[in-house]
């Protein structure tokens, strides 16, 4: 978040000297006539941009504040609810042309709105007076002209302007009276279903399209400008009446600042970046606003919002839109994202395009949406039915107190973020312990309770980027667990705090202490207290598991945590170190299950193409043995089931693999790795919809994970949805542009979409970042072949051949390379070896995206049949 240094913010680190200058300038500006203030401030600030912006911001706020705080606090208690806060200018029975005011409706930045009646025709209308800001006669004329222009618009979703007039120097607009509720209210009350939101979005897009055809840009589209009437019809108000039409247009540099600052008061959150920078509003800035509106309707929150206008501005100009829940159909998210691209040229170029995109989604999703609704309802009622069997863990330390507080509100917590536990022992040795404890809490909470736990990597990233509370909001968590590890020697001492992020309120703060040998019991204490405190529903059986926590040799536990620390880094070297730690942990305490499961994970990673430093024949049996051993000790280990599922997948035991993944997810629905590995299995079996569902679930649990994001793009590519894949992978690279895996997958997606130039760049990136790994070189070769550059393809194949003579090269890479130069005989030698060693590569050979000469050759069917890899 950008903060204007030296100026007050919520942390209170104000710089008094700067404030004095702000104050002096503000007060001086107030003595001037309003139109002269901006120029004065710019001049007086004398190049001090922060000073200038702060004073202009305050002046804008002063203008916008209206009756704010003018009624003394004591008097507020004396007025009954519903009383108008200030006297409307026009009392009932006032005549305006042929109309008679019947009542005051509302007041806004531009003037007041009244209900009125045509004295002859008897028709009831709304009349908007435009008194508030029209001091400039030129601006007033222009406003009237624009309103007259907008009066030509006739569309079911546009509020019809009947007449534009002027009485006693007050311009007014007579328009259709729409009885209903604003979208702002509906959004706030969370009354919109996805179906409603899409239907409204489509109709608003249609209204924009109609206006754009008539050369009218709305300029100020936002949820409070849209009213949904009794017939469930959204009606857009105020076409062509934006505040900016009141500004002067002498095209000076001052004007853009004036525009910006004036606009800040009102509708900043819906404003396109180019408009914010002082550029003219056009069709595409309306498209942006439509994107903001869609985001607001489907997520309930604005895509860009800071605590101050400056933060909001900065977010609009620089940040990606706030993440939306992956429960949303991806297609919807993509439409929104495309509306909200910073570059107007990259957006949809017309409202019509947005409308047809929404239309397509609505037609496509009509049934699945209903299906999803049924599923979730059924799940909920299952929980209710199971209530008798469900155990609420008896009040433990801290829990009871929490219960009282929450009980009053009857809150339900559905998403929890466990932030990294801080190492406060004073020795960096204990870093691994703090991290391991974090991970253990995440794993255990997710395993015992019916709640979604945000993965560690995403919590870490969000916390690093945004600070605790902001992190929780970004992660959409409704409770945060944070902690400090104070001691990790003979005794383990940890403070655990539970925070409710909306108000930043600490719900509980407890200290847990146990001898090192009872570290697991300590974990169980914390988990139990949190589960009780948060009133989580504990799964049947899970309570027993918490209750029967065994002792673990402290040294073994320490080794395990160190291993997980290394595993999280996921480089070939760190995986080697992780393996060493896990093996030592097992040596020290052979009856402790987690290191076995972790070991299986490490071996599985060695089989992947990007890490791949050796044959799966060597590693997979070790992974299998470790996973099975873990399950013998602890049949409830989600990690072990998932690791075993992984092994089974690439051993082509599809059904067994699926059963393991399902069991893992059942045991711990918050385990993101299980989701993405399962998605890979489903994808390889061409069950794309299910694969997307799983990978989306993984994404929701771990929204900032690079591997999860990349795999989402990969599944989309495999499903033939290249455009969406490209967007997804491009965004992944925004998280970390040095993530080779995403470059590699993006290169494939771009190539398949026919965008070979970009595909080539990304493949080259992957080569550079991996130090020339075989799969990345093959990605280059694929693009080169697509571009007809056979010389480069040959160079690469020669290089791979040379490497294969010296050591291990994944056979799939060689097979693809030879196929590209038409050497199918050689290619099949390597295809054979890939099957022999059961490369991960083999599993994906029946996908369309890899369809090529290999698949079309009769030898392919033969070899598939021989190895029984055909379904």
């Amino acid at each position: 978040m950008t903060r204007v240094d030296g100026f007050p913010d919520r942390d209170g680190d104000a710089a008094p000297a700067a404030w004095d200058r702000v104050k002096a300038l503000f007060v001086q500006a107030l003595d001037l006539a309003e139109p002269d203030r901006t120029a004065f401030v710019i001049r007086a600030a004398d190049g001090d941009d922060r000073l200038r912006d702060e004073v202009l911001s305050l002046l804008a706020s002063e203008r916008a504040a209206g009756p704010f705080a003018e009624i003394p606090a004591p008097a507020l208690f004396a007025t009954g609810p519903g009383d108008p806060p200030w006297q409307p200018r026009l009392p009932p029975a006032t005549r305006l042309g042929a109309y008679e005011i019947t009542s005051f409706l509302s007041a806004g930045g531009m003037g007041e709105v009244y209900r009125a009646r045509h004295t002859v025709l008897g028709r009831t209308v709304a009349i908007k007076t435009l008194s508030a800001q029209t001091t400039d006669p030129h601006a007033k004329r222009r406003l009237i002209r624009e309103a007259q222009h907008a009066a030509h618009l006739v569309h079911p979703n546009i509020c019809t302007i009947h007449e534009v007039g002027e009485a006693d120097g007050i311009p007014f607009i007579v328009m259709e009276l729409v009885d209903g509720r604003s979208l702002t209210e509906l959004v706030r009350e969370r009354k919109l279903s996805l179906d409603d939101a899409l239907a409204y979005g489509q109709q608003v897009a249609d209204a924009l399209e109609h206006a754009h055809e008539h050369g009218i840009v709305h300029r100020d589209l936002k949820s409070s400008n849209i009213v949904v009437d009794g017939g469930n019809r959204p009606v857009v108000l105020d076409f062509g009446l934006s505040k900016r039409s009141l500004e002067r247009t002498d095209g000076t540099a001052v004007e853009s600042t004036v525009t910006m600052m004036g606009a800040l008061a009102g509708t900043l959150s819906h404003m396109a970046p180019e408009v914010l920078l002082g550029g003219p509003a056009d069709v595409r800035s309306d498209v942006w606003s439509l994107g903001v509106l869609l985001h607001e309707m489907v997520t309930g929150a604005l895509p860009f919002q800071g605590r101050t206008p400056f933060e909001t501005t900065s977010a609009i100009l620089n940040d990606p839109p706030r993440a939306s829940s992956s429960a949303l159909p991806l297609a919807v998210r993509l439409v929104i994202e495309r509306c909200l691209l910073k570059d107007p040229n990259a957006r949809y170029q017309s409202a019509a395009q947005v409308r047809s995109a929404l239309d397509a989604i609505r037609r496509r999703h009509a049934w699945p949406l209903i299906g999803r609704l049924l599923v979730s309802t059924r799940r909920r009622s299952l929980y209710l039915l199971g209530a008798a069997a469900v155990l609420v863990v008896p009040a433990a330390i801290g829990g009871a107190r929490l219960y009282q507080w929450i009980g009053a509100r009857d809150a339900r917590f559905s998403t929890i973020a466990v932030l990294p536990i801080e190492n406060a022992t004073g020795t960096s040795e204990a870093d691994y312990y703090a991290e391991g404890l974090t991970e253990a809490l995440i794993g255990q909470l997710g395993a015992v309770a019916d709640v979604q736990i945000i993965s560690r990597a995403s919590a870490v990233r969000a916390a690093r980027d945004a600070g605790t509370l902001a992190a929780a909001r970004r992660l959409r968590a409704d409770a945060i667990v944070g902690g400090r590890l104070r001691e990790a020697g003979e005794r383990v001492t940890v403070d655990i705090r539970l925070i409710e992020p909306t108000r930043g309120r600490v719900l509980s703060s407890e200290t847990y202490e146990r001898p090192a040998g009872q570290a697991l019991a300590l974990q169980a204490d914390v988990v139990r207290a949190l589960a009780t405190g948060l009133r989580l529903t504990v799964r049947p059986g899970a309570d027993d598991r918490l209750a029967t926590v065994r002792a673990v040799t402290p040294a073994a536990y320490a080794e395990y945590l160190k291993g997980r620390f290394e595993w999280n880094l996921r480089t070939p070297e760190s995986l080697q170190r992780a393996i060493a730690h896990f093996e030592r942990a097992i040596e020290l305490d052979p009856t402790y299950a987690p290191p076995y499961a972790a070991l299986a994970d490490c071996y599985n990673q060695f089989g992947t193409l990007m890490v791949g430093t050796g044959s799966p024949r060597e590693f997979r049996p070790r992974a299998e043995a470790a996973a099975i051993r873990a399950l013998q000790i602890d049949p409830y280990s989600a990690e072990a089931h998932a690791a075993l599922g992984y092994v089974r997948h690439y051993d082509w035991r599809w059904a067994d693999a699926e059963a393991e993944f399902r069991r893992a997810i059942e045991l711990n629905p918050s385990y993101a790795n299980a989701r993405i590995w399962y998605a890979n299995l489903l994808m390889s079996r061409r069950r794309f919809n299910e694969a997307l569902e799983q990978v989306h679930a993984g994404h929701e649990l771990d929204p900032f994970s690079l591997i999860v994001n990349t795999n989402l793009g990969w599944v989309l590519t495999a499903a033939g949805r290249y455009d969406e894949a490209i967007v997804q992978l491009t965004q992944t690279l925004k998280l970390d542009s040095t993530y080779a895996h995403a470059h590699w997958r993006l290169s494939d997606a771009l190539r398949l979409a026919g965008r070979t130039t970009e595909a080539y760049d990304h493949a080259r990136h992957a080569v550079r970042l991996t130090g020339g790994s075989a799969p990345s070189l093959v990605a280059v070769a694929h693009v080169a072949a697509a571009r007809g550059d056979s010389a480069e393809v040959r160079t690469i194949v020669a290089e791979l051949q040379a490497r294969a003579r010296r050591g291990y090269v994944p056979p799939g890479s060689l097979a693809e390379g030879f196929a590209l130069i038409g050497a199918l005989d050689s290619a099949f030698v390597w295809v054979g070896r890939a099957f022999e060693e059961r490369s991960n590569w083999v599993s994906y050979l029946s996908l369309d995206m890899v369809e090529g000469p290999i698949q079309r050759d009769p030898r392919f069917r033969e070899i598939m049949a021989r190895y029984g890899a055909v379904q």
């Binding site: 007050p8 104000a14 305050l58 705080a69 003018e70 003394p72 606090a73 806060p85 008061a265 509100r409």
Partner: protein
């Protein structure tokens, strides 16, 4: 009932002489009295919509301060204290009221002017203004005083100026600044 007047006056004098701790002793003495008067006013005069906070402060002043020892400086101090107490009472009151209406929380997003018209929204504003004011005070304690006198104690610009011994014009300007600052804190998106 013992009149705490002498104590309050004495404490005010001490406070005026720079003994910051004296204020801590004044507060509980004045608090009850202030609450009593406020409650009565809110109850009795509510029907007429004519609650007069200035009268409240004056009444408090007369009741609590020994007039023979009161000078202009005490009076200023006293108003400052009274305004602060009013702030506390009203914020408590607002909390109680909003707690009944909703779950005690209010999320400040953009708000329609029409919604702002609802008294409840403005009562919830009291709480938010109180919180924002604490931040403004760190920046500029003068601004806090003006807001307390104007908004919480309901004094007019002229009365505030009189209490603070400054020109009405200056107070008006400063009040505009405080209002702009607070408004921006509460409604970063403005009222639309």
């Amino acid at each position: 009932m013992t009149r705490p007047a002498e104590d309050v006056t004495g404490l005010l004098v001490r406070w005026a002489e720079g003994d910051a701790a004296a204020l801590d002793h004044i507060v509980p003495l004045v608090y009850e009295e202030c609450r009593r008067i406020a409650a009565r006013q809110l109850r009795v005069e509510r029907a007429e919509h004519t609650l007069n906070p200035t009268a409240l402060v004056h009444e408090l002043y007369l009741r609590l301060v020994d007039q023979s020892r009161a000078d202009w400086k005490n009076r200023t101090q006293f108003f400052a204290v009274a305004a602060r107490l009013m702030r506390r009472i009203l914020v408590d009151h607002a909390r109680g009221r909003t707690a009944q209406k909703r779950d005690g929380s209010k999320v400040f997003v953009t708000l329609d002017a029409a919604e702002y018209a609802a008294a409840d929204a403005r009562i919830a504003d009291i709480i938010a203004i109180d919180e924002a004011l604490a931040r403004l005070a760190e920046l500029d304690p003068d601004q806090e005083r003006i807001v307390e006198l104007r908004f919480f104690a309901g004094l007019s610009v002229e009365e505030t100026a009189h209490v603070l011994g400054r020109s009405a014009r200056t107070v008006k300007r400063e009040w505009q600044l405080a209002r702009a600052w607070l408004f921006r804190e509460l409604y970063p998106e403005g009222l639309s």
